[in-house]
Symmetry: C2
Subunit: 404 residues, 2 copies
C-alpha cells in the first residue's frame, strides 16, 4: 500500500517549502502603496515550468519569461505591480531583461536563470531607476518567512493577499507546495492580470513538472471568469528544487496522482480566492453543464452562461433569471435542443424540457440570495460535461473600471 | 441616365407607404403601460421576407413566423410587448398560432397570411383572453396614420418610439419605404429583443426582396451591439405590396442599387436609434477595423473590442483606455502582430506599431468625452475590413438589469 496524505499548512505561502526565500518591498512605482516589488528565490537552481497568457498582445515580461522557462532551470522571479510593461516595444523588452540582469547580479547567478512578471498600467515605460534600487532592497530583505510580504507586493486592487501551502506525505518523505497569486483587480487603465507563483521542494522530472502544471491550470485557473477577458500579462510559474529528497516523480511514477492532487488543491484554493476577491463580486457561482454533445460543447455552454452580462446582472439582483440562462445557452454556438434542456439551482429544478417547472419561486430566490450557489444544466444530447466558476457583476465593478 | 433620388419623410413610419394600416392599443398585458399590442396590415396581399434570431432557443412566435415567411405572402403582423412567449413549449406554439387565427378572422384572410412577434418576459404563458380582446380592438382602430401608435405599442424599456420612412424616386414612380423598431430595452427577466417591421409599396421580385433584406440587415442591425447577446425573439420582417406600380425590381434590375441603398438607410436609421436608446447608454462608438487578414478576422477584432466589458467601462468613464483595446484585439482570436497595430480616436493616432504615440492625452480625452466618436484599428496584415457600432456600459445598465 502507498503511504500518502495531504495536509494544508495554515497561512503558508511561497516560502513554506524548503530552500525558498522571498521579500516584498516598496520602490515607489505606485505612490501610497505599501509595497510594489516582490522577489522569490530558490537557494539552489530549480526546475521551472510556466503557463502564459494566450493573448496575442503579450507584455514584455511575458515574452522574456517564456524564453527563460523554455530552458527549464531557474533561480528566481522578480515581480513588480503598478506597471504592466505591456505595449512598450523594444524598450519594454530591454527593461524586462534589465530587471533579470540586476536581480541575477545580486544573487550571483546567470540572468537566464531569472524570470520576470509585471502587472499594472499598460503602455507606460517602467521607472527603471526606482526598480533597480528596489531590486537591491528586495535582495537584502530576502528571508525564509518573506512569503506574505511577496504576496502583498504583487497585489493591485486585490483587497487581501492570496497564499496557500500544503504538505504531501509520500512514503517516508514530506513534500511541501506553496503558492501566491494576485487576482482580477483592475484600476484604470490596468488589466485583470492573473499572476501565480508556485514553489515546491519536491523532486520531479522536468517533463512531469511541465505536464502536471498545464493540466492543473487547465482545471483551476482556466475555469474561472469574472469578466471573460484575458490579459496581456497572465503568468503562472512553478519552481521545484528537489530538497525534499523524495524519489523523483516522473510520468510513470506511482505517486504522480497524489502530487497532482496536491498541486491542483493549491491552485484551486488560489483561484477561488482570486474569484471571491474580484472587483465588486458578491456571489460566486459554480456552473456544471452535462449532457452536451462533447466536453468542448459543454464548455461553450458553461462559458456562454458564465460570461453573459445579463445573467451576471440578474444574479447581482438576486433574481434567478432562468430565461436569460436559456438564452445564453441558445447563443453559445453549441448544439442544443430547447425542448430537452433541464436547469437546476442548488438541486431545485427550475426548467424541465425547456419549460418552467412548478418549483416555488421563493425557494429558488432563496438560493440565489446565497453568496455561493451552483447551477446545473443538462442538455440531454450526449455525455459531454464541463465545470466552470463565475461571479455576478455589480454597479461597483463598472464604477471601479470607469477610469481614474 | 437613370432618374433616381432618395428623400427622408419626417416622422413617417410603417403607414407611410401606400396601402398600409396600423394600430397600437392596450390590452393589459403590462399594467401601467400605455399600449402593448400592435397590428400592421397591408390592404392587399403582400410579398414578405424575414430575418430571425440565430439563437437556438427560439420563442414560439419566431417558430410560427418562420413557417409563414417561407410561403412568401402575408397580409399582416400582430405584435405584443410585455411577454416574450418564449420557453413556453407546445402551449406557446398554440397561443402564437391563435394570435394569427384571431387576427386573420377579423381581417378576412387565411391565418397563414399573418405573422406574429412577441417581446417581454420569458417563460410565462400569454394571457390569451386579454390578447384576443386586444386584437379585436386593434383591428377596429386600424388606420392610415396608425404607424406611430404601433411603434409605441412595441416598446419595452425603450424611451422613445423608433420610426423611419423615405421616398425613392425611380424614373417616374415614387416608392415609399417605412419602418419601426424596438430596441435593446430590458427589464428583468426580459431580454434585449430587437424587432423591426418594414413596409414598402415597391414592386419587387420575391427573390430580390429576400436577398436585399438579408444583405441590408447584415450591414445594419447585425453590426450593432450593446451587450453582445442575441435574444430568443429577434425578428425583422419586410412587406412589399407593389402599389407604387413601378416596373418590378428583380435580381438583374438596373434600379436594384438605389432600392438597396434606400432600404439600408431605413434600417440603418432604426438600428442607430436602437443603439442610442440602449439602457444606460451615454456614448455610441463606431469601430472600423482594417488591415486584417480577412473580413472575417476584421469582424472578430471589431466585435472583441465592441463587446469588451473593460473597454466599455472605460468609455463610460471618458477614459481613452487604449491598453484595454489592444488587449481585446489580442484575445479576439484573429491573427495579429502586436508590433504592427495602429490605433486612432477620431483621426488622432494613439498607438503606432503597438506603442503609444506622442499625441497629447488631453486631445484624446476630449474625443472620448463626445457622445459619439470613432475608433480606427489598422492591423497592417492584410486587406480585410469591418465596421461595427457599439456603446459604453454604465452603472445604470447594471441597475436596470439587476432584476425587478
Amino acid at each position: 500500500m502507498k503511504e500518502e496524505s495531504i495536509e494544508f499548512i495554515k497561512s503558508g505561502g511561497v516560502t513554506a517549502p524548503r530552500g525558498y526565500l522571498a521579500s516584498g518591498i516598496s520602490c515607489g512605482i505606485k505612490p501610497g502603496k505599501k509595497s510594489d516589488l516582490a522577489l522569490v528565490v530558490s537557494q539552489q537552481l530549480a526546475d521551472i515550468a510556466g503557463v502564459f497568457t494566450q493573448n496575442k498582445v503579450k507584455a514584455a515580461p511575458v515574452i522574456v519569461s517564456m524564453q527563460r522557462v523554455k530552458k527549464g532551470k531557474a533561480r528566481a522571479v522578480v515581480i513588480n505591480s503598478g506597471n504592466a510593461n505591456a505595449c512598450t516595444g523594444s524598450r519594454g523588452i530591454e527593461d524586462a531583461e534589465q530587471m533579470t540582469t540586476v536581480t541575477a547580479s545580486f544573487l550571483g547567478c546567470s540572468p537566464d536563470e531569472v524570470c520576470v512578471c509585471s502587472t499594472g498600467r499598460i503602455g507606460v515605460y517602467l521607472p527603471m531607476k526606482k526598480i533597480i534600487r528596489g531590486i537591491e532592497k528586495a535582495c537584502k530583505q530576502l528571508n525564509v518567512e518573506g512569503g506574505k510580504d511577496a504576496a502583498e507586493a504583487i497585489m493591485t486592487t486585490d483587497t487581501v493577499p492570496k497564499q496557500a501551502a500544503l504538505k504531501v506525505k509520500i512514503e517516508d518523505k514530506e513534500i511541501i507546495i506553496g503558492g501566491m497569486a494576485k487576482g482580477a483587480g483592475m484600476i484604470a487603465p490596468n488589466l485583470a492580470t492573473t499572476l501565480g507563483i508556485i514553489t515546491t521542494d519536491a523532486s520531479l522530472s522536468p517533463e512531469y513538472l511541465n505536464s502536471v502544471l498545464h493540466s492543473c491550470v487547465q482545471e483551476t485557473f482556466n475555469r474561472i471568469s469574472i469578466d471573460g477577458e484575458t490579459s496581456t500579462n497572465d503568468t503562472i510559474l512553478v519552481f521545484s528544487n528537489g530538497l525534499a529528497k523524495n524519489t523523483t516523480i516522473g510520468m510513470d511514477s506511482p505517486h504522480k496522482g497524489i502530487f497532482k492532487n496536491a498541486l491542483r488543491l493549491v491552485l484551486d484554493r488560489l483561484a477561488r480566492e482570486v474569484l471571491e476577491d474580484g472587483e465588486g463580486v458578491t456571489k460566486v457561482v459554480e456552473i456544471l453543464v452535462q449532457g452536451a454533445a462533447s466536453e468542448k460543447e459543454a464548455e461553450l455552454v458553461a462559458r456562454s452562461i458564465g460570461n453573459s452580462l445579463l445573467v451576471k446582472c440578474s444574479w447581482n439582483g438576486e433574481d434567478p433569471n432562468w430565461g436569460r440562462i436559456l438564452c445564453a445557452i441558445g447563443y453559445s454556438g453549441a448544439n442544443v435542443d430547447q425542448n430537452k434542456i433541464d436547469l437546476f439551482y442548488n438541486g431545485f429544478q427550475v426548467v424541465a424540457s425547456g419549460v418552467r417547472t412548478e418549483t416555488k419561486e421563493s425557494l429558488i430566490k432563496k438560493t440565489v440570495k446565497m453568496p455561493m450557489f451552483s447551477l446545473l444544466v443538462d442538455l440531454h444530447i450526449g455525455s459531454g460535461q464541463y465545470r466552470f466558476f463565475t461571479t455576478d457583476i455589480s454597479e461597483r465593478y463598472v464604477r471601479i473600471n470607469k477610469g481614474e
